[in-house]
């Protein structure tokens, strides 16, 4: 597990994710102008509700409803990083140790080995466990 985490560090995943998050945030700054123009959160029955400078804050409170449907892409991106970290760990540590660590996590966290595939694809930021077990089985050549 330590090797896995080192893999994230070694592959600069934190920086990549920060860059991605920054880019998405910048893109979303277009949203408040849309909402402003539409009067969604800025105007009420009595007239102007909030100043123009407040619209970003208000917009980002409703943004999760819009970005929810993009979540599978974020999960996919995260899974790619997890694959890279797993590959890194398998390169420097015994794959059987990785499997044992996964089993321990599975038991400690009351995780299920039989997730719904669609739910898993939508939400899971890591590979499905059975896939991981198979990938790290001793007969599998290390990457």
């Amino acid at each position: 597990m330590l090797a896995h985490e080192l893999g994230h560090f070694s592959r600069h995943h934190v920086w990549k994710r920060m860059g991605m998050a920054s880019a998405v945030s910048l893109a979303l700054f277009r949203g408040p102008r849309l909402a402003d123009g539409a009067g969604l959160v800025l105007r009420g029955p009595g007239g102007t509700l909030a100043e123009r400078g407040h619209s970003p804050g208000l917009f980002f409170m409703i943004a999760p409803s819009f970005t929810f449907l993009l979540q599978p892409l974020g999960s996919l991106y995260s899974r790619l990083h997890e694959f890279e970290a797993d590959a890194y760990a398998a390169q420097y540590a015994d794959a059987r140790d990785l499997v044992r660590a996964l089993v321990k996590l599975y038991e400690d966290n009351a995780a299920t080995l039989t997730p719904d595939p669609l739910h898993s694809a939508f939400y899971d930021s890591t590979r499905r466990r059975r896939c991981a077990f198979r990938a790290f089985s001793p007969c599998t050549p290390r990457r």
Binding site: S10, A50, I62, G74, L105, Y123
Partner: protein
Amino acid sequence: MHWFSLVFLATLALATAARLWLSARRSGTSRGTATRCPPSSPVASRSAAHEKAADYNVAKARVGLIETLVAARADACVHLRRRIAVARRDLGARIPGGRLCHGIALIVSVILVSSAVDLPFSLYRTFVIEARFGFQPHDSPPVRPRHGQGRGDRNAAGNPSRPSGAVADGEDGRFLVARRMGRVGGVQPPRRDDFPTFIAPLFNKFSPLEDAGLRARIEALLAKCGFRSKGLFVMTAPSVRVTATPTSPVSVPPSASCSSTRWCRGSPGGG
């Protein structure tokens, strides 16, 4: 009604329906496979653990369904004009200051209301459901549960990883409560890098890792990967003292800090 309001309502309805549908699928799959541990897995013989995981997921999914509906209604109410208008009018009457103060107070109040909707569900998951299934708020998982589900699943409909916001990195229950309260107000306490460096020492005691064999194994792995450490420490919560287990397969004792920033602050290739 303006077209953007219609788009917002449609998106909110679509997202809510998708959440409910995915939760239902997850719950149904967990329930349907509760007694059938996949034979290809290395834990096939541990059917009790598999059943426990299924029950845990189903219990959380039930709460998640209610939370989804409540949150959707709150979002629709808060953000569609009237409630904001009322809040604006009331705040303007009660809070002195100019437009800036009123605007800030408006945003803070909306955040507080939105977050307050989530807090009871989050506390219920942590202190009722997790306690029922054997998790304790002060438990320290042996390692940071990275092999889990993304945190985006706020409804945790069968979240197979450590539950959302649950204790990690050996933090004690007090910090967990602080984190929960921090969500009210939209403040997310720092987690990855700041936690082991600044927050954890406030609540935990750090002492050098004395197990020479384990230390040698960890340092060997670090060197093999091209890292170097500035020291290996055991993090002990004041109210929980867990003895180390040198035979742990993940090379990390349950009480050892997995604060990678302490271990691996050396630059790659620097070892």
